[in-house]
Amino acid sequence: MRYLPHTDEEIAAMLESMGAERLEDLFAAIPEACRPDDPPDIPGPLTEWDLRAHMDQASGRMGVGAPYGAYLGGGRYDHYIPAFIPALLSRSEFTTAYTPYQAEISQGTLQGIYEFQTLISRFLGMEVANASLYDGASALAEGLLMAHRITRGKRVALSGVIHPHYRQVVRSYLRPAGVEMTELPWQADGRTDLDGLNQMDDLAGVAIQSPNFFGCIEDLKLISAICSEKEALLVTCFTEPLAYGLFTSPGSQGAHVACGEGQSLGIPMGYGGPGLGLFTTRRGYVRQMPGRLVGKTSDTQGKQGFVLTLATREQHIRREKATSNICTNSSLCALNAAMYMAALGGPGIRELAQLNHDKAAYLKAGLREIGCSIPFDAPTFNEFVVAFPGAGEEVYGRLLEKRVVAGLPLAPYAPDLKGHYLMCVTETKSKSDIDQLIAQVGETV
């Protein structure tokens, strides 16, 4: 076995040195009744070459890459990733290190995460960021739990146009804490209907996604004003952070927490994971934050360095009084996102975001021209909802036969939206791809 270095002679010498006769002696504490009847039924061992062939075959069975085409967003986004990023990220000093508890031997990870915390705070217009959480959905749940800890409010209001999976995760996390959850419906323009907030009291937080699940940009400033009146925290989330390369940041609109998914920042879609839970807030809430934080300090010679800090919030120190149970997070993905943000720079991320916006607008206009309806007229970024003419399912089905996924069917999430599809266009789609899609939809109508 190529990963196991022990020779028979070495095993014998080691056993002898500890006065044991057989390897089995070391397992004497395990009762016979706890042992398996048979060895586990597992194929293999496979040689490297057979394993490669097996995995290549599984990968080849996926409908990914030409001739397949997908106009899918809804929580994961297909963006170009510069080749130097995976090359740097795969340096094994980064990949094969553990959590940087021992700072002096982990300065690479620590400086990298400190830089990540800085760039993501600047990007979202917030004051502090943690070192990452698992994904956007658990980040939103943690944001609402933090709002509950800070305000002691018993209830949270959740926009009904937050990604449906995120709402499911929030329910799983908040139910045991005894926090009441109320969902706000959406209004005709595709944005959250805020009227219901007037009747609610004892609010810990209001959760809003922007761009929302329909791709619409929410009026965070307005919601922030309502939150101040209600003394509730504004917890904003997102599945497509690239939008903030173009649109006003959550921080500048009064968000107390801005959290969500960072996959768009240079991380492959990878069938949904790993992703990157982003979590940012205001400085005053730092001791209530979930997750790890990297801070600047100096060594005994006065040289600048970085350490994990404010660990008294965390599970390994604070035990049952911790702000969260999170330990392992998405550190490598955070490093990945920092590399990506630094690769683009401020003007670059603006240009890329603008391009996403413009290409989606081009598709939206093209579909409207051939008779599709665009039910929501709130402004959008790189996603929007379309209703194909006639029986929408037929159009979608015929395109699928041509190996094109014409958006995400919305009926499973909202029965009212039968025949409606969430379309996404990123910089990876050329004008001619989009023209072809419009033509194909036109042919089937």
Binding site: M18, I30, G63, E427
Partner: protein, 485 residues
């Protein structure tokens, strides 16, 4: 501000990202603009984000230099107890990066995702075979999220039976995340003390188990590195009072093919694919913490579940008693692919041999070092052993000082000050992928440090000496937090 160029041997100094670069640089190849600029409401438009502007060369040098300040398993032995820092095979990284997997959108129609769904379905069955449990959810993104799911399932099980149990037993030898995970779920953790041999006794559990208690969270093998020999009797006691047994399987690396978790009485178990199944830790994540259950708990597993019908794989949410969803999609698939590849490349015999070698290595270290460091529980261990700084304390040398000094000898320190049940704990887990000569080097370094503690304690108090930085001031960092630049 100019900074004078400097380097420590081959270790380069490197400024922060925003202290480098120049306005006008960009490391991204911007796609051609082939559509016109679309109009938008200027009130919605934000400022250009304040991000540094750098070239590709700037960034490649930056991160290469940073990486050289890091120590990974590929650099050397990383004996962090309960973290299982074994070698991470390169082939498995290649598998996870295959275009069909890395490029797959999670909301693809399932008929286009059969390759990855089949792999995930098979991984569930492999984990069933390894643990003896009945069903698996791969969804939890890390061990602590697996614990949370386990607790949510326990709660759902009791509520389903019309009971509202409020307490949970957590032994002093359980993993650190356990109490926080239980609390997140609304349970009040109740401590259980281990005995003089470092394990739980049935009497101690019987003394605190009652009908208000949802169950027990056992780490087995526990964080002292011992197998809970009375596990079956303990499970029986908990079951008799209507409770359930949760096992933290972070230490499964000791017992693959050796223990059948279901036969030992466990109802729900989480695994860490980034420990036992060799996916890299990534400097703190991502990991994966699948949850394995017995049949009685299967209806409560998170949704969606991966199912197979008429030869096709599908994702199903039709489980009304499920605890719900806990990840935006299906968990950390990239980590699952690596674990699947690992299991197939090892086979049943290979996994069993890995456990046997892991236990052999830990016992070898324990025997070679027990004359130099206090060994609070002097008996055969499983995959890890726990020393303390008791012999060195009279010289004012602590566990932390010795840990820092070990870096000067080219090793990552062990886990320190955990488990809490040992004062000044030094928890060593060598894993099976370290050879005898590597262990001998480590042992020699530890012995040398024990001697230095006698002859030159100051050397240890001021360690490390050979790294880019000397000892860092953690108190200063916490007193005046500076979290962004």
């Amino acid at each position: 501000m100019t900074q004078k160029p400097s380097a420590f041997g081959m270790i380069q100094e490197e400024r922060l990202l925003w202290e480098k670069g120049k306005a006008g640089r960009c490391a991204f190849s911007m796609p051609q603009r082939d559509v016109e600029r679309a109009e938008m409401d200027s009130a919605l438009m934000g400022d250009i984000p304040d991000l540094p502007e750098l070239s590709e060369v700037d960034l490649v040098r930056h991160y290469t230099r940073l990486s050289q300040w890091n120590f990974g398993v590929d650099t050397g032995m990383y004996p962090l107890g309960s973290c299982t820092m074994k070698y991470n095979p390169k082939l498995h990284d290649r598998c996870a990066g295959l275009p069909g997997f890395a490029g797959a959108h999670p909301l693809l129609p399932v008929q286009w995702a059969q390759g990855v769904l089949q792999l995930m379905f098979r991984l569930e069955r492999l984990l069933v075979a390894i643990t003896g449990m009945d069903a698996v959810s791969l969804q939890p993104a890390a061990g602590a999220q697996g614990e949370l799911v386990g607790m949510l399932m326990m709660q759902a099980y009791h509520r389903d039976r019309g009971e509202n149990r409020t307490a949970i037993l957590v032994p002093d030898t359980a993993h650190g995340t356990n109490p926080a995970s239980a609390t997140l779920c609304g349970f009040k953790p109740v401590g259980v003390k281990s005995n003089a041999a470092g394990i739980l006794t049935p009497q101690a559990v019987a003394g605190v188990m009652d009908e208000q208690t949802a169950g027990i969270m056992v780490t087995n093998p526990n964080t002292l590195g011992f197998f809970e020999e009375h596990i079956q009797e303990i499970c029986h006691i908990v079951h008799q009072k209507g409770g359930l047994v949760y096992c933290d399987g972070a230490n499964l690396n000791a017992v693959m093919g050796v223990v059948d978790m279901a036969k030992s009485g466990v109802d729900v178990l989480h695994l860490n694919l980034h420990k036992t199944f060799s996916s890299p830790h990534g400097g703190g994540g991502p990991g994966a913490g699948p949850v394995c259950v017995k049949q009685t708990l299967e209806p409560f597993l998170p949704i969606p579940r991966i199912i197979k019908e008429k030869g096709q794989y599908d994702l199903s949410e039709k489980y009304p008693r499920s605890v719900g969803r806990i990840h935006a999609f299906y968990g950390n698939v990239g980590v699952m692919i690596r674990a699947y590849a690992y299991i197939l490349s090892m086979g049943a015999q290979g996994l069993n041999r890995a456990s046997r070698m892991a236990v052999l290595n830990a016992n070898y270290i324990k025997e070679q070092l027990k004359a130099y460091f206090h060994l609070p529980y002097d008996r055969p261990c499983m995959h890890e052993c726990v020393f303390s700084d008791q012999y060195q304390r009279p010289r004012k040398v602590t566990t932390l000082d010795m840990a820092k000094r070990l870096m000067d000898y080219g090793f990552h320190p062990p886990t320190v000050y955990f488990p809490l049940v040992v004062n000044g704990a030094i928890m060593v887990e060598p894993t099976e992928t370290e050879s005898k000569e590597e262990l001998d080097h480590f042992i020699a370094a530890c012995q040398a440090i024990a001697k230095e503690a006698e002859t030159d304690p100051d050397l240890l108090l001021k360690a490390p000496h050979q790294l880019k930085l000397r000892r860092l001031d953690e108190t200063l960092a916490a007193r005046k937090p500076c979290l962004t630049g």
